[in-house]
């Protein structure tokens, strides 16, 4: 006999309106629930919906119209669109005459949700935006919170080194997926398998250090959530060598590959003027020859003390962006090695001293890969009443942040990731806005694709490296 008293009741919700379609909310009632495709705003042109059936029948039907100009909706469900991106292409035979990107299919209201959680809980939300670069969102957000609190210079050195280490591993992780999926979209499955094989090594480090492979919420306002576990540095040293070999394998596979060069050289061209006009940053901007990198121009987390180069090329096309990403991974490995070296000699805490911000004791990953640290439990339950009170207040209530606004930008794998935070002095952000590089860079689709062939659209979009989780937030 079960002792579970939970009652699961089937409720008929079909008659209840969706909360988003609440008629009490302001808005244009006449448009509610309208099917736009039935409105006739296609100017009387015939509409073909591909939802199964025989492809040849559809082609016969379309060609019977003797219409050369055709508008194609590529996506939002298409294997080559990096998630749920909808590309609206106007075609003249195989040439793209107009290209527009339709986004918003992955909007999850993260920024609104963050206004209803404490400052620390915000990390758990923003890490899920661009799911390939979680550490960059976390770092940018935490740097912004620290700037609002005015504790930027109190962050322990060890915490900053760990942040740099994790960010650079994340950069390699993101670039590997970009190159891997980009290769797959062009039909090169080996590039994909090599890319994901190498990425797996990085994810193992993330799992060892944070307990999670993605969406780690590892960087926290004031430092990082826990110190590196025993053996992590040796593990990282091992994988740096392996990664270097793996990335070199990718380079050998791609750099002088005539098929790849044929598909990417001169494709998705966007020169410096175009990049600046559209505020494009990251590898796309650097492929025009401008060495703009926030790690050099506005260093944070001590980047000015690391030895690395900013990679630029001058072709301004998909091939050069690909090569920039490959070479940037080698630069990131250089930084990772320097971090490991420093971490071997730099001890100390990984969280600020301020007991009104930091938890009473550090957590750690247990043998099961998750859970509390026994030291922490002992500290708050057995040793110190003060710690228990602080722990309780910090977890339930959170800390207060003085009113004001800040903008902090970091160089993410895709470009400038900016965080605009506004505090009203309370325990929650008044407004958190993320300037995601993919969101901005995706505006270049029209400039890169118009006038090219349909097949080049895939390559051009892949060279922007958009991740819809970050674009739509």
């Amino acid at each position: 006999m079960s002792t579970d008293h939970t009652i699961f009741e089937d409720r008929d919700v079909s008659s209840e309106p969706s909360p988003g379609l609440d008629s009490d909310l302001p808005g244009d009632d006449t448009l509610r629930g309208t099917d736009y495709y039935a409105l006739g705003d296609t100017d009387g042109s015939p509409v073909f919906n591909v939802t199964g059936g025989d492809w040849d029948d559809l082609v016969d039907e379309a060609t019977a119209l003797h219409e050369e100009r055709i508008v194609v909706n590529m996506g939002p469900q298409h294997p080559s669109t990096h998630g749920v991106l909808r590309l609206i292409l106007e075609l003249d035979a195989e040439t793209v005459t107009e290209a527009r990107a339709g986004i918003g299919y992955l909007h999850t209201g993260i920024e609104k949700n963050m206004e209803f959680r404490t400052w620390v809980q915000g990390v758990t939300f923003c890490t899920r935006m661009d799911y390939l670069t979680p550490m960059f969102q976390e770092a940018a957000y935490c740097l912004a919170v620290e700037k609002l609190l005015g504790i930027t210079d109190q962050i322990p050195e060890r915490a900053s080194i760990i942040r740099v280490l994790m960010m650079e591993l994340t950069r390699i992780n993101s670039h590997l997926v970009c190159i891997g999926t980009g290769g797959m979209e062009m039909g090169a499955t080996t590039v994909m398998t090599v890319g994901f094989r190498e990425r797996e090594r990085i994810l193992r480090v993330f799992e060892q250090v944070t307990g999670l492979r993605m969406n780690m919420a590892y960087i926290r306002p004031g430092g990082v959530s826990q110190d590196l576990p025993h053996g992590a540095l040796d593990h990282i040293t091992t994988i740096v060598g392996e990664l270097r070999r793996g990335i070199h394998e990718l380079e050998m596979l791609l750099a002088e590959n005539p098929l790849l060069k044929g598909r990417t050289k001169g494709v998705g061209y966007l020169d410096l003027t175009g990049c600046i006009a559209l505020s494009i940053t990251g590898p796309v901007l650097r492929s025009t020859g401008l060495p703009h990198d926030l790690r050099k121009s506005e260093p944070y987390c001590g980047y000015e003390t690391y030895d690395f180069d900013v990679i630029t090329r001058t072709g301004a096309d998909a091939y050069d962006r690909l090569m920039i990403r490959i070479l940037e991974m080698f630069e990131s490995l250089k930084i990772v090695e320097q971090c490991v070296e420093r971490l071997r000699t730099t001890g100390g805490p990984v969280m600020v001293e301020d007991k009104k911000i930091a938890w009473p004791a550090q957590l750690s990953v247990g043998s099961d890969g998750q859970g509390n640290s026994l030291d922490h439990i002992r500290e708050i339950m057995g040793t110190s009443m003060e710690s228990l009170i602080h722990h309780f207040k910090l977890v339930t209530e959170g800390f207060r942040v003085p009113p004001g606004q800040v903008y902090v930008a970091v160089e993410s794998a895709k470009g400038e990731l900016g965080v605009h935070l506004v505090s009203d002095g309370g325990t929650r952000p008044y407004r958190a806005h993320f300037r995601d590089p993919s969101f901005n860079n995706l505006q270049a689709v029209a400039a890169m694709c118009e006038g090219s062939m349909v097949a080049d659209v895939i390559v051009a979009v892949a060279s922007i490296d958009p991740v819809m989780g970050g674009v739509d937030r």
């Binding site: 988003g20 509610r32 736009y36 209201g109 609104k112 959680r117 121009s297 506005e298 969101f439 995706l442």
Partner: protein, 247 residues
């Protein structure tokens, strides 16, 4: 508490509100009140620390900064003043706030385009990149509820500056900067989508993240978060906006 946050501020808290409308915002360095925070605990005024009396705290943002601003900010302000027609700076820039090492120019919306053009084109300013447009909704700031915030970057001089433009809820119009920074296109669409700020002159101001037929603007403070209670093992967890908060 959620029912507190929806109460129009300023109705019964006269002493918290600055009623002095004659203050000169351009030079007054006293903090500017943009609203009022209510919640439990965290009292910094008065004797009541239980929270049950309904604590009220004014939200004070930094007031105008005094010269010298420090860093490159003086140079930016001077160059901008020189680039504009005589007294253009004084009428266009409401006040300058330097806070936490960042410079904010509060610009009157009718002068936004002139300021933006000068900031982009003057060789000594050269803010060639507008990294984004963000919105903030201050429900209680009468006549200036909606704020559009532009973050500008000069790669040439490695500088940043922030423009802040306000509009009342009743007339949510701000001129579009897309003609000056084409990259602001999607950012302005997002700010329209989320806050309902109408950017006049934008080539295609349509929703971008929400569906085309969505009613309301979700990031406004009077728009509910939504959500349903979650039942787990007989207990019920209310949706996030109805949970107890200690703000």
């Amino acid at each position: 508490m959620s029912d507190d946050t929806t109460t129009p501020a300023g109705t019964d808290s006269g002493e918290l509100w600055s009623t002095d409308v004659s203050r000169d915002v351009a030079t007054d360095t006293t903090p500017v009140q943009v609203g009022e925070r209510r919640g439990m605990f965290g009292a910094t005024r008065g004797q009541d620390t239980t929270g049950y009396g309904g604590l009220r705290t004014p939200i004070l943002f930094p007031g105008a900064s005094e010269r010298p601003y420090g860093s490159y900010f003086d140079e930016v302000a001077d160059t901008l003043a020189a680039a504009l027609p005589s007294d253009g700076y004084g009428t266009a820039v409401e006040r300058v706030v330097v806070d936490r090492g960042e410079m904010t120019l509060f610009v009157r919306r009718e002068h936004l385009l002139a300021i933006a053009r000068a900031l982009r084109d003057d060789p000594a300013l050269r803010f060639e990149v507008c990294t984004g447009v963000s919105g903030v909704h201050f429900l209680a700031e009468a006549g200036r509820e909606l704020h559009a915030i532009y973050h500008l970057l000069s790669i040439t001089h490695n500088r940043r500056v922030r423009l802040e433009v306000t509009a009342p809820d009743a007339d949510p119009h701000i001129p579009s900067v897309v003609a000056i920074w084409p990259g602001a296109d999607w950012h302005e669409r997002e700010t329209w989508d989320m806050f309902g700020i109408i950017f006049d002159g934008h080539p295609a101001l349509t929703r971008i993240l929400m569906p085309d037929d969505w009613p309301g603007h979700p990031q406004r403070k009077d728009y509910p978060l939504g959500g349903i209670p979650v039942e787990y093992k007989g207990g019920t967890v209310p949706p996030p906006d109805q949970r107890r908060s200690y703000n």
